[in-house]
Amino acid sequence: MTTHLATERSGRRGARSARNPVGRAGYVFVSGYVLLLLAFGVLPTCYAVWLALSNSRNQLVGIGNFTRTFSDYRFGPAFVHIGLYLVIWLASLMILVVLLSLMLHGRMRRASTTLRFLFYLPGALAGVASVLLFLILLDPAASPVGWLLKAFGWETLAQVNAPGHLPVLFTVIAFWTGAGGWIVVMYGALNSIPDEILEAARIDGASTLQIALRIQIPMITKWIAYMLILAFAAGTQLFVEPQLVSLASWGMIPDSWSPNQLSYQYAFQAGDFNGAAALSVDLLVLGLACAALVVFRTGLFDRDEG
């Protein structure tokens, strides 16, 4: 979202589009988006920042809400949980998505259309619905893949949901529901690489592996970076998965497993909207920091390269 905003704003200031009459039509096209972005993105963010810096009596309290939530006994575990989850998820997302799209692009051109459709299919279900599906899949007694769970020695839902398994479980859910879309995007990115380059490499005697490592992956770095930013932001805000799995297992997962859930607890169990806002600002800062790091490291916004 941040990246979109920045792109638009700088695009508007670009000398080229101002002189170009076609550019004016651009304003009309983005106006709807900008309006919604202001109403549902920028304004709530500003409100959250204001809430985080004030108390329920509307007095400014500085970083009081941040230190208060930081010293909460649930703060540390929630961020550790989400950190573990992010490491596992981002690593598997990057490796598997790139690998699968390379294979689709190179080796399996004939079956590729069908496979791309299959990969994308779970993502076409709304997020919550696919999590609900997993509630059934994870119960060894009800699951169609119960034999697989039992092969790991898990006989009951309680054993599948053991605290140590959760980051991996949520990764599986998130990968299954979200990776398909990215595979399609990466496939598109690979298609944008001119055939001549690949052909030249092949004539020079490069193996498939060398082509992938030296040509294809470097040329789609920006798309991978883009995926990383969005996946990181979505990952830190994990909420639906733990919340639903917790409800379905009668609370076997703590109700403040992820920072976003903790924020929800603050707002709606304790009625402390300021503490909740402080936590969401923490997440905003994390997301922005990651985005900034990736943007400046990979030169996502540079026009000179590529």
Binding site: G62, Y73, T156
Partner: protein
Amino acid sequence: MNNDVPVSSRRQLRHTAVAALGAVSLLALAACGSADPTPAATSSPAAFKPVAQEEGSEITVWADAGRVPGVQAYQKAHPDVKLKIVTYSGNANGANDLQTKVQLFDRTGSGWPDVAFSANVNDGTWAAQGKTPYAAPVDKGLVPAATLNGFAYGALNPCKFNGGTYCLRNDLAQNVLWYNKKLMDKFGYTAPTTWEEYQALGEKVAKEHPGYLVGTAGDAWSPEVYFWASQCPASTTTGAKKVTVDLQDAKCTRMAKLLDTLIAKGSVSKDTVFSAGFIKNQAAKVLMLPGPSWYGQVLFNSTFKIPKGQIAAAAPLKFEGDDKNYTGNVGGGLWFVSSHSKNLKAASDLVTWMTTSDDYQATAGTYPAYKPAADKWLAGQLKTGYFANDIDPAFKEAAELIWPGWSATQYSQEAIYSSTVIPALNSGKTLTDTLGTWQTAITDKAKPLGYTVN
């Protein structure tokens, strides 16, 4: 498309970011208030002042799918009352929609439902607290004292705060000892009357008929079934937002030891009765099961599909050293009248009808908290012929035996047990080992909500 951005915009982006950061940090430095959220504990609610009343105005009712037919029956019996019925989750199974929405309505200053049903027996703790509690005290001129006195002993305890009664109880979920009479007769056992006999029988079952069960410890509500009955001081409020938690008390450890023994022998399951695996593999092997009154129809009949004439209920068990048998309670719905209602008369009339009327309560799915309605309800249960004995004496006895030392709290004991104790049990630890962790978990949960724990 990103490639079209000129390099200079990067500098601009940085400038904007620095400016925004600067503005925010200036705000952050300009601190003058305290970061403490409004201390809900110390601010005793102002005396209840109704808003300007509009006679005959429409009232909004929030109820769950199970209760909506009752509200519709009320509408039929009272065609002149203007009702707007909204179906919502009813806060069942740990959902907290009502609290979530009320918090938001408190911020916007409008939108509260005039009447709300909640299946969460703990909801009074937040609805009756705060500067302007959501719930109106029904004992202050809204519902006559004679009606309030008709509820079972202690039934309104989850509604009583700061000397007022803030809700009416829809149903009781007093625990009894359920048993499968057909199996017990076949094995030549008789239903125990004390926890000691229960343990002995559990050990005997494990030896003579392995695989058969006398209880489950993996339900979220296990603390309310076993530890509440054992009079364990796990949740004793001693004042507004003061709670005593002492799981090392002898009355807690005796129950932990009993369950540990039976879990080790295999006659108490670590699973929950509602898990798909349990329903499939163990349901037919349940010999005894201490549990709430709603187990009869909801669990044995509808979920386990145990045929007619097998399931029976016995009175709650007693510890030999105790002078009296006590029991716990698992849930039980509450009806709230909003303190913001413009038609308190209609709202209180509705909740009174819903909780006390024979027309609705006598055929309801759960045991009525209002005693006269409970008599009719039990007569109705006898007529169904589902149970192997007359459950009337056991239910009535249990309804008056709910140990008053276990209080409703703003946090859920069930959530704490399932996220702390059940994973520990499944990793091979015993309940006795886990009491310390469990105690810490309760304390940790209570403190951020403004409770003083000792």
